[in-house]
């Protein structure tokens, strides 16, 4: 009996649902005719819940005339998906922007509208906007979030060995020496199996203090500086000098091994990115953060701030007015407060200070005070050809640690690779 009735029941229920939803859509449409729905294309599938339950409702409360649909594509497919959609005219109204080279290509292809007329843009410094500027120097994306690099340290070990938090390279080395002499702990949880880790979390973290941050980075881009200049060699030398403080067998230790070593309380310091604030404190250790030490006391301090996400306006969007309202809002502290609170390890790029509820996040954000910010060295323009400087750096830094290649030879190799294709715009 039941089996015979089931199909009918399903049909009836389905018809009723369709009918009802049709009715409600109809009444909704006639009720508030001015509601505009805009779509927000991005690669942060992992943040869908946060955006849909916290960020977008907050925006829609302030702007009831606009509805935002969160449309996430997994990060590996994102570039291809956006390119095909935008070019066929079906792209989302607002689009999350990759930093630097990919986005520069998109700007050149005319995917985005110029955003310089938006008032929120003035909440950001030129350095913060640099990852998303076009060839004309104008901003094309609203900066959303960045990640920082620093050194996590185990406060308990520091107390036990009577160490103080280093502010200069000399103090840093002396701390590392003392930890090594004590013999109970690994001074620096660092392995060379993952090349990116050496570049992003170590060289691009301590290096800016040697090559004066943006001065050095932009100097490489406009061709006034070379990787073989003394500043760059000194940075790589400082990197190579860390070798005695690494754990045994560091050559085959991966990023996860290092994090385990640190969270088990067996290592005193780990060079890492802010995205790991949750992982680093997961085992309940008493952990602090310090910034890459300056070369000499009194020097200007530089801190690596890597732009991660921006949002731009699709040039072919049919809802530009509503999209601009959304973009304006993304540039305010109203948005930033909600966002950084929900995603520990990501930081607002605006000039106004935003409070962080996560203690380690707040410590990381405090490192920005008094520091000049600079992104990772090789990702802007210098890796858009073959050999890409970024990939080359990973491999070369491995040879510095594993095979004892000298800093001079390493920098020479990188410069030769870059010279083979990169022509600075004059």
């Amino acid at each position: 009996m039941r089996s015979k009735l089931a199909p009918f029941a399903i049909v009836v229920v389905a018809a009723a649902t369709i009918g009802l939803s049709g009715c409600s859509a109809g009444t909704g449409g006639t009720g508030d005719a001015k509601v505009t729905t805009i779509t927000f294309g991005n690669w942060r599938t992992e943040d869908a819940k946060l955006w849909e339950s916290s960020v977008i409702p907050a925006f829609e409360k302030a702007h009831p005339e606009i509805k935002v649909t969160y449309q996430a594509t997994s990060t590996n497919d994102y570039n291809a998906a956006i390119q095909s959609k935008v070019e066929s005219g079906t792209g989302p109204d607002v689009i999350m922007c990759r930093p630097f080279d990919v986005n520069r290509a998109w700007i050149e292809k005319g995917y985005f509208d110029n955003l310089k007329s938006l008032t929120s843009i003035s909440n950001f410094t030129p350095t913060a906007l640099a990852a998303w500027t076009g060839a004309d120097g104008d901003p094309y994306c609203m900066p959303i979030a960045s990640v920082l690099a620093g050194f996590y340290y185990n406060k308990t070990i520091f107390k036990e060995l009577g160490l103080s938090v280093p502010t200069t390279m000399a103090e840093f080395t002396s701390d590392l020496k003392k930890i090594k002499a004590n013999g109970k702990y690994t001074p620096l949880a660092l392995g060379s199996a993952d090349g990116w880790q050496l570049a992003y979390n170590v060289l691009d973290s301590i290096g800016p203090n040697y090559w004066q941050g943006e001065a050095g980075r932009l100097g490489l881009i406009d061709g006034t500086k070379k990787l073989t200049d003394p500043d760059f060699v000194a940075a790589t030398q400082a990197f190579a000098d860390l070798k005695p403080y690494l754990p045994d067998g560091y050559q085959s230790l991966k990023y996860e091994d290092m994090m385990q070593l640190f969270t088990l309380g067996k290592a005193a310091i780990i060079p890492d990115g802010s995205w790991d604030v949750t992982a680093a404190s997961a085992t309940g250790l008493d952990i602090g953060v310090f910034a890459a030490p300056v070369v000499k006391a009194g020097d200007q301090r530089y801190l690596q701030e890597m732009p991660d996400q921006g949002v731009g306006l699709n040039a072919k969007s049919k809802n530009k007015t509503a999209s601009k309202v959304f973009l304006e809002w993304l540039g305010t502290t109203d948005f930033q407060k909600i966002y950084v609170d929900k995603v520990p390890g990501f930081f607002s790029m605006g000039t106004a200070a935003v409070p962080y509820t996560n203690k380690l996040s707040q410590q990381f954000a405090d490192l920005k005070k008094g520091a000049k910010l600079t992104p990772r060295l090789a990702l802007d323009r210098l890796s858009a050809g073959t050999p890409p400087l970024d990939d080359d750096t990973w491999a070369v830094l491995q040879t510095v640690l594993n095979d004892g290649v000298s800093a001079e030879a390493a920098q020479q190799k990188l410069q030769t690779g870059l010279d083979s294709w990169y022509k600075p715009a004059k």
Binding site: D101, G191, S192, A193, G195, W196, P247, D248, G249, Y250, Q251, S252, L253, K254, D257, Q260, L261, A378, L379, S383, A384, G385, T386, P387, P388, L389, D390, D391, W394, A395, Q398, T399, N402, D403, G417, S420
Partner: protein, 294 residues
């Protein structure tokens, strides 16, 4: 009675579905990949440049350096499989057919074959933990040393796939009729002679086939290296094989912009190398192996 013409027409009809699938899913993609390698699409459009990409691949010092390095590593990757996997696989197969095992044969056969059913990612992960200098059984950084990294990964792969030549040769050995074996025993052959003079010549065609299959598998190899070391396999590209070089070029890596044309060129070269070697093997060697009617 069916006329010959009708018979051929029927043959064509029966073959057509399989042929269509083969052409659509194998031949066309292969051809389009080869065709792609003759174009340059980096500047928006798509320009025909004949062998330009191939010239670039073999003359550009950076790219050709990576290519020869990857080719050398692929040869080493294959050589280790050839030297370790096949002889040990043969030994295991011979032991499995030995009469003394009897009851436990099924257990050994299953146990030895189990690794081949595991996912490469799991095999890589387990072995990485076993040989991890911090928590593992050896303190030497096997995967971090440019001299030992590739042999280590090759041996992991051998460990995983050894069940395949074993089961392949084992079934071939089982197919040898017992009367031949008994006859040679009566003639006074020692176990050693029995295996090398009687059994091995009978399974030589299968041994040749598994050799060439191993060659194809290892030259198309990619997964275990990618699972352990990613698409820019370190240290300093010492574990970079043709598969990972292709992947890195075609799909791009973190800092490397994807180059579809050059990637297709590398794919075509890999295809050509495997094609020529396999063809040469079949023409020169496999034909000369004597097959015996049993």
């Amino acid at each position: 009675m069916i006329r010959t013409a009708t018979r051929y027409r029927m043959l064509a009809i029966f073959v057509l579905p399989a042929l269509a699938i083969y052409v659509i899913f194998s031949v066309l993609p292969l051809l389009s990949s080869v065709i792609l390698s003759f174009f340059n699409s980096s500047n928006g459009g798509s320009a025909f440049i004949a062998f330009g990409n191939y010239v670039h691949l073999f003359t550009d010092p950076y790219i050709s350096g990576h290519f020869w390095n990857a080719l050398r590593n692929s040869v080493e990757f294959f050589a280790i499989h050839l030297i370790v996997e096949l002889p040990v696989g043969l030994l295991m197969a011979a032991l499995l057919t030995s009469a003394t095992l009897r009851r436990s044969r099924g257990i050994y056969r299953t146990l030895l074959f189990i690794p081949a059913t595991l996912s490469v990612v799991i095999v890589g992960f387990i072995w990485r933990l076993i040989i991890n200098p911090l928590w593992g059984v050896v303190s030497f950084p096997l995967l971090g040393n440019t001299a030992t990294a590739l042999p280590t990964i090759s041996l992991m792969s051998v460990w995983e796939y050894i069940g395949i030549p074993m089961i392949f040769l084992y079934t071939a050995l089982l197919a040898i009729p017992n009367d031949i074996v008994e006859a040679s025993r009566i003639d006074g052959a020692s176990p050693w002679q029995l295996f090398w003079r009687i059994k091995f010549p009978l399974i030589a065609p299968q041994f040749g086939l598994i050799t060439i299959l191993t060659y194809i598998w290892t030259f198309n190899g990619f997964d275990i290296v990618y699972a352990l070391n990613g698409s820019a396999p370190g240290p300093n590209y010492s574990t970079d094989i043709l598969g990972t070089l292709f992947y890195r070029t075609f799909f791009g890596s973190s800092g490397q912009v994807a180059d579809l044309d050059l990637g297709a060129t590398i794919a075509s070269v890999i295809f050509f190398i495997i094609l020529v070697t396999t063809a040469a093997y079949f023409v020169v060697l496999q034909r000369r192996i004597k097959t015996y009617e049993l």
